[in-house]
Symmetry: C2
Subunit: 467 residues, 2 copies
């Protein structure tokens, strides 16, 4: 696919000088008007192509981080450029509707394109603007669902509810919780940050809801040699979840979980664990929300990562953003639509321009079976990394992501070594990302192929062999 | 300007059949995949032009609601179509960057375009995705600022802070508040909904932060005949604010207010009141955040509505969205940038595509002095409405918005009459919006002129004279 989309993709990285002088100067200048302290380098997106990102100094990096796991089809993908030039897109850009009140004639078609790649069992969409927004919109739906059930689906609210909510007090503003997991990442707005639990820096100084955190399994690797211990770990974690669902100080409207905890370290859970969660949420009357913001859209070898688990029944809501370039949640139960209008509502109700792009991305991924490409390339890459692991075990601890496409990670003995490795890789022309305290996460585009994997592997070995 | 931009704009509305059969069928069909209960009519945005919105049945409405106060320059504005077709826009659509880590070469220029229309005294921007998002990002900045000051600007966090925040507990997750006002609207995510206080439906069933609400002045109209009473009202409200700043159960990091409470009823406050708030926030060490999501970008006769008040010093943050088509906050004090990186951070840090559009909108408004157009047309319209008020006083209570451009509102004796009026106006070819329980708010585009005002006024009189 890289060849089809990008006949002129570079054949390898090229580092002129990193960090380069132009990038350094531009970063400094930008900081006067926009916080640029997190900038790695300033990018020339016009020159970036396919799997290669080009900075303003002409450094060309093979990009296996892809805008924090967000570029689906490579830079300047010609299919998406066509969509960006289309009358439909231009119309969506200049005439942004308040889609709840005045939807465009084309909105249903746009939504149908998003539904064409919906996870199994999902048949409706509510749209938002970012991963954090998508999750919080799902929380809103969960809380409204929970209370509607409690009041027997009455569509009128009591005077006491109407009065108390204006004072931010119960019963109109009830004590309810979302249950999430230690090491999870679900965003950085106030409610989403209250569910996020990977690093203090994400939420220090923010007032938060005191919502419960269960434990996500910590497996022993390799998985095939530690089956019993890991199953025990699953059960231990399920027991904690059940205890919280039974005994937390307020009702838990929904359980929120990533199929693979990404920012928190690429932590995996088994099908047994996820089916166990599905069963527990049904037993205790909570909803199950799967956060596919980082895991969704093909990279794990299936379009949605939680499809690997074959959970039954399907999750109640599945949130998305990042590689889909549009945000929101899928659902299927009509009761997830609040039983009074104007409750799940806001001015724009999403961005049709980004929704059109998301639909186009879905079509490209499906019609070119890019999930299968990720599966194939992932198997190739994982096998080669296993070989490197055998050779340099210190630098390849807990290799993770077998049978999960290119969604691969591993750990170093320390954060300092990991950070040095990342810097050395940039010097070698590879742009990579980290997760948790000591890990690397690979998040290439969906058009990353064996030839790119070979370049990545050669650079890794060159760097590691020097340690 | 309407003539310059839209030589082919319709000369008046045309109602074929409302609600039309195609719109009704499409609304129903859309509802199967996307909650469409709030839909007034389904729109053909391709055919909509200038101040006229065209539905799928061919009904042509003069639009003085403009996507809930969000369309700045009329439908299918040719200047914005040019921008939407530009290479810069196409690049921003297909290569959406994680702008914190990998900013585009053009980002600084894009930000400078937004700064070219910044409120007086503001010189930096942080970008978001919607009005609610913009406000919550401003809250985050305020809380981080407050705590940084408290810990003497140390850049290290204590072990206790790092540990407690992972449990959503103090001191890492402190008890701090945002002070807002009764009848305010600031969005519907969890923290923003905790500050919103206009209608129960916006926040029922959502857990919330129990943050304080002061009272926004309720003036007697007409203003020029009630100066003493209204000044007393200002002082009464300022005293409530001071009491809350002094005595609320936890520290108040910021005070949040709209220059004109919009969703809550087009409630106005005087320069005296706003300067009083500025003084109180300085006296008690809180920040002042002005929410210009609905009021900003020209309609009130100045680019930013709070510029009418000449507050000194300038507010600490000014949030924007809607007519700017991009969201975020302006600020000026370097201390508003959190003193450790990666705190005010997320994957995308805004949307460059929408930021480019915002910059272009700013340029058009400035270069054509559309604020002055709104001032001129607003004076004309307000004068004519005063005449109607004299003739039909029952249907024009508390006429508001003198010297505030086209940002005009009035009230009916009851919600039922107001709702009937809105329906009758749609039948007469005018798409209008309401606010609070009994009011009408006018929110035309910035290219609404005397000739459009005449059509609006004629329709209003025709409907009202029949009551």
């Amino acid at each position: 696919m890289a060849t089809k989309y990008f006949p002129n993709e570079p054949t390898g990285p090229k580092v002129v000088q990193f960090p380069g002088p132009i990038s350094t100067a531009k970063k400094e200048s930008l900081h006067k008007v926009f916080d640029s302290r997190a900038t790695y380098f300033v990018v020339d997106y016009k020159k970036s192509i396919g799997n290669y990102i080009v900075d303003v100094d002409g450094n060309t990096f093979l990009d296996v981080y892809a805008q924090i796991a967000s570029i689906p089809l490579g830079y300047n993908n010609p299919a998406l450029i066509e969509v960006a030039k289309s009358d439909k897109m231009i119309n969506a850009i200049v005439n942004r509707p308040a889609s709840g009140n005045f939807p465009a004639e084309e909105l249903e078609e746009t939504i149908q394109d998003l539904l064409a790649v919906a996870p199994k069992g999902q048949n409706q969409v509510w749209s938002g603007l970012s991963g954090a927004d998508a999750n919080e919109l799902a929380f809103k739906a969960a809380f409204m669902w929970y209370q509607a059930k409690k009041r027997g689906y009455a569509t009128a609210f009591s005077t006491e509810e109407n009065d108390s909510v204006m004072k931010n007090q119960s019963p109109g503003s009830p004590e309810l919780a979302i249950l999430s997991f230690e090491r999870s990442f679900h965003g950085r707005l106030f409610a989403s940050a209250s569910t996020t639990c990977s690093k203090p820096i994400h939420k220090l100084d923010l007032p938060s809801f005191n919502w419960p955190k269960a434990q996500f399994p910590s497996y022993k690797y390799p998985l095939d040699k530690n089956e019993d211990a890991n199953k025990q770990e699953d059960q231990r974690c399920l027991d904690i979840v059940e205890d919280l669902l039974k005994n937390w100080k307020c009702p838990i409207a929904a359980l929120l979980i990533e199929p693979i905890q990404s920012e928190g370290g690429d932590n995996h859970g088994s099908s047994f664990f996820f089916q166990g969660l599905r069963d527990l949420t049904l037993k205790y009357g909570s909803l199950l929300i799967i956060d596919e913001v980082q895991t969704g859209v093909g990279a794990t070898g299936t379009f949605w990562a939680h499809e690997h688990f074959n959970m039954s029944p399907a999750p109640d809501m599945v949130t998305f953003s990042k590689k889909f370039q549009t945000a929101g949640y899928y659902f299927h139960d009509p009761e997830i639509v609040p039983n009074v209008p104007y409750r799940q509502f806001n001015t724009w109700c999403g961005d049709p321009a980004r929704m059109i792009l998301g639909g186009a991305i879905g079509k490209e991924v499906k019609s070119n079976d890019l999930s299968a490409v990720c599966k194939r390339v992932g198997e190739y890459l994982y096998g080669k990394l296993e070989a490197l692991q055998a050779k340099y075990p210190t630098y390849f601890q807990d290799l993770r992501g077998k049978d999960r496409g290119t969604f691969i990670a591993w750990s170093f003995e320390s954060g300092a070594t990991r950070d040095k490795f990342l810097t050395d890789m940039k010097q070698s022309g590879i742009n990579m990302g980290s997760c948790a305290e000591t890990s690397i996460r690979l998040r290439p585009t969906l058009v990353f192929e064996e030839k790119h994997a070979d370049i990545l592997l050669a650079a890794i070995e060159k760097v590691i062999s020097g340690y």
